[in-house]
């Protein structure tokens, strides 16, 4: 019998694309679909997905939980657990439309929730850690329930299918946000489980990734020491946890975190000024278990920005382009041209060089 995602590690090739408006202007979901559709050949119909930021302005102060359920029994159990931890201000089916290519859909629910202050205070942790732990616990202990999106004013939409079919299924054109990421998956066998599609999300982090990292088990075993559980056994999952750990829990900057996962070579470090040498050596030594080797190109989405990063040998293609106040990122230039034919600039970042794009301070009126 074929094993489900998480019971077995499934390598995959992929396509990624992303777009962000630095002035916080709303971009319709159809824009990113145009990009990812162009890279149809880079996926094989076994997974596609999107993450949008700034898409829930009316509920921006609440964590938006997107949940897959195998059946209503699983839903009842999970909802009872949620009620115990959160105030649920809205619960609804995520609107979908029939698409002949999208089959075996689970029940797909969306909740806007606020953690119960008494529960947060009792655990002596901050609110985001509370939500992260709740998501981890439900995903690891509740059969048939899987929370696949848990950030504020952001949402992930994913399914088994080609990305453009997934977008049609979720009516992505009905949403608008200041940034989007997209993923088309080419797994090497048939998991057939929606949770295994990408982006992978935790809190407001979302990761789309193309590659197969060779450091996976080193990274997994390191990060699992700190309360994370790698259920899906995917690169994307562990990469998301690594950034969550380094940035949210260690308080590192995105640039510093990038120097952990795509550390400069020792020979490169030796050529830097003394102060920088000391810092980079410290970072490599301190978090040696979080160095990622093997090919990857990732786009990390977060509230107010995107980070694009290649492995340090640049074993996967990734290009970045600008047009006015909008930045485009994709595995292939063709995808960017499909979103915006007339570009101001286009370039291929170096291996290990982080490209960080943030929405200009103060322009997000919905409070990101």
């Amino acid at each position: 019998m074929l094993q489900k995602e998480g019971q077995v590690r499934i390598p995959s090739g992929c396509a990624i694309a992303a777009v962000i408006s630095k002035t916080g202007e709303k971009i319709g979901g159809e824009k990113i679909v145009a990009g990812i559709r162009t890279m149809h050949e880079r996926s094989n119909g076994l997974g596609g997905g999107f993450a949008g930021y700034g898409i829930y302005p009316d509920y921006k102060d609440f964590y938006a939980l997107h949940v897959f359920y195998d059946d209503n029994g699983a839903r009842t159990d999970c909802e009872n657990a949620l009620k115990d931890l959160f105030e649920i201000v809205k619960a609804e089916n995520i609107p979908t439309r029939k698409n002949p290519a999208i089959k075996d859909a689970p029940l797909i629910w969306r909740y806007f929730v606020a953690p119960l202050p008494s529960r947060v205070a009792a655990m002596q942790i901050d609110e985001r850690e509370f939500v992260a732990r709740a998501v981890t616990r439900i995903n690891s202990t509740f059969r048939g329930a899987y929370i696949f999106s848990s950030g504020k004013n952001t949402g992930t939409f994913k399914a088994v299918g080609f990305p453009e079919e997934v977008a049609d299924f979720y009516r992505l054109e009905d949403y608008a946000g200041y940034s989007w990421t997209a993923h088309g998956r080419y797994p090497t066998n048939t998991p057939g489980w929606w949770g295994g599609a990408h982006p992978f999300s935790l809190l407001d982090w979302s990761v789309v990734h193309n590659g197969e990292i060779s450091s996976y088990d080193t990274n997994r075993r390191f990060i699992e020491m700190f309360g994370y559980k790698c259920h899906l056994k995917t690169d994307t999952e562990v990469i998301t946890y690594i950034f969550d750990y380094l940035v949210r829990r260690q308080g590192m900057t995105l640039r510093e975190a990038s120097s952990v996962v795509a550390a400069p070579f020792w020979t490169t470090i030796a050529r830097k000024p003394e102060e920088e040498q000391r810092e980079l050596t410290y970072i490599r030594n301190m978090f040696s278990g979080l160095l990622i080797t093997g090919p990857f190109s990732i786009v990390l989405g977060f509230s107010g920005g995107l980070l694009a990063l290649n492995d340090r040998l640049k074993l996967r293609s990734m290009v970045v382009a600008e047009k006015g106040n909008t930045t485009y990122i994709a595995s292939e230039e063709a995808a960017i041209r499909a979103m915006e034919p007339d570009l101001d600039s286009i370039r291929s970042p170096m291996g290990g060089e982080p490209v960080i794009v943030t929405v200009n301070k103060g322009v997000l009126e919905d409070g990101n």
């Binding site: 090739g13 090497t188 590659g211 197969e212 060779s214 080193t218 260690q250 093997g294």
Partner: protein
């Protein structure tokens, strides 16, 4: 002869047509096997004295000598083997504890040989170490839980003392006394040249070698031989030796015959006196006592040196390591069942302790389960035989490996397992000045450098095949390993899947 007679283990076969009577074999053999029969103008051999060290074979200019197993046998018996029977004869003759040297030769499973390494195909690319950077630099020492920042917001890069190695291989502790001056000189030279460390063992540090301090680990063992403030400050790190894989639970005994001149001065004991290391440290009867010694040594060296605690791999090694990781130690060195020794009681060597592969896997997992793996680095030894063993050990979770036997082999040792006799024909495990002089420290150092260089190249090739270009991404990467012919329990302990899974 008679009831006490034990038939020689080996036969000395000499091709008389090739033999030129040059008598090199006679001069080379400290055991007195070869002799010249003036009357008949031919070489003779007393094979009962032969330990099969291959010295005569290697030096015979006409390749006239072969040492072969003596075909004389007892009646076949799978239970009462010849070695068991002969040991009974020896003990019936004299009521002594039998002594042996080097690692246990018993035919127990070598788990390294039941583990295979992965390589990249199609879904991700292998990396060619001749064309791309391939990194093997390792830092050993504890890492704090949280980063700290300076008032200006930049990272505070201060860490507790760390050891930096150019490759994940060190030399194991081998004391001056158990091995010769020239061996230490070669090890120190090679460590400096290759960017790693050698280890004094429990014999103190000869005054000539203080200059190699940055590449030296100084050991503090239960006899405290040669330990003083300058010694502690001389090394890059201090190792507290609690145990040794070849002889867990017992101390050591360097016979007075080996405690001559410089050895006596270096150990700080009278010439000719037996150097007896007790089984326990008499100030460490429990884990809280170990903590006191760790901090005493740190106090004595102003917290500038990492402290290593070396233990033998025994049954509850995971719990022991967990205790050590909370004791203030920076590094744990674990020495496995097959680790070498200059002398150990045969029964202990062959029957006490557990294989390093299982001990390492259990310790690494336990420290991770408890979230304290970053408190310490792990060095493993006993026995690491090839670059592939290093790669497998690192993938199981080791930060670095220490080699003793492999280093001695590089210097000429033929593994005759007779170190305890003090008559090492290769000038390694001896203090006899004539024998010591046989080992040229410059040549020996060159051979050690060659060995480490070759292994590092092989490590890079294996890493490149897996698509890994830095050793830290291999550490604990058990997904890169598969077992063959192992049962489920063994796989569970090793934390690896079976080949085909």
């Amino acid at each position: 002869m008679g009831i006490d007679f034990i038939s020689a283990e080996f036969d000395v076969v000499r091709d008389d047509a090739r033999c030129t009577r040059c008598r090199v074999c006679e001069k080379q053999c400290a055991n007195g096997v070869h002799a010249y029969d003036e009357k008949n103008r031919r070489m003779t051999a007393d094979e009962t004295k032969c330990v099969n060290c291959q010295r005569c074979v290697a030096f015979c200019p006409t390749r006239a000598i072969k040492i072969v197993r003596n075909p004389n046998t007892f009646r076949d018996n799978a239970n009462w083997t010849a070695s068991v029977v002969n040991e009974i004869y020896k003990q019936a003759s004299k009521p002594g504890v039998l002594l042996s040297s080097m690692g246990a030769p018993k035919n127990l499973p070598v788990y390294f040989d039941r583990i295979l390494i992965n390589a990249s195909q199609v879904t991700n690319p292998p990396i060619d170490p001749l064309r791309e950077p391939m990194e093997t630099r390792v830092f050993l020492g504890k890492k704090p839980e949280k980063i700290r920042r300076r008032p200006d917001g930049r990272l505070d890069c201060a860490l507790e003392p760390q050891l930096e190695l150019a490759l994940p291989i060190l030399f194991s502790g081998m004391s001056y006394g158990s091995v010769s001056y020239n061996v230490h000189k070669a090890l120190a030279t090679a460590a400096r040249e290759t960017g790693t460390l050698y280890n004094t063992g429990e014999g103190g540090l000869h005054k000539d070698f203080y200059a190699y301090g940055a590449n030296t680990i100084v050991q503090v063992a239960s006899g405290r031989f040669g330990v003083h403030k300058d010694y502690l400050e001389a090394g890059a790190a201090i190792e507290i030796k609690m145990g040794q894989g070849a002889k867990p639970g017992i101390g050591g005994h360097l016979t007075g015959a080996k405690v001559s001149g410089d050895v006596s001065a270096t150990r700080m004991i009278p010439e000719g006196s037996d150097a007896i290391s007790p089984a326990p440290h008499h100030d460490i009867y429990s884990i809280e006592d170990l903590r006191q010694l760790v901090y005493s040594l740190k106090e004595a060296t102003a917290y500038k040196k990492p402290v290593i605690v070396k233990v033998a791999a025994v049954h509850n090694i995971a719990a022991i390591a967990s205790g050590i990781a909370r004791s203030g130690a920076d590094i744990i060195a674990i020495d496995g069942y097959r680790g070498g020794t200059g002398a150990a009681p045969t029964r202990i060597r062959d029957n006490v302790g557990i294989p390093i592969e299982l001990a390492l896997a259990a310790v690494d997992q336990r420290l991770r389960d408890e979230g304290i793996r970053n408190n310490v680095s792990l060095i493993v030894s006993g026995s690491i035989r090839t670059a592939a063993d290093v790669v497998k050990a690192v993938a199981l979770g080791a930060d670095a490996c220490a080699i003793g036997t492999a280093a001695l082999l590089a210097m000429g040792c033929r593994l005759c397992r007779s170190c305890h006799t003090g008559k090492c024909n290769w000038g390694i495990a001896t203090q006899d000045p004539a024998l010591v002089a046989r080992l040229n420290p410059d040549i020996a150092a060159r051979r050690l450098i060659n060995l480490l260089t070759a292994w590092n190249r092989e490590i890079k090739e294996l890493m490149g095949g897996m698509g890994i270009n830095s050793i830290e991404a291999l550490r604990g990467n058990r997904l890169m390993l598969r077992g063959v012919g192992l049962n489920e329990k063994e796989l569970e302990i090793l934390g690896i899947a079976h080949a085909g899974e």
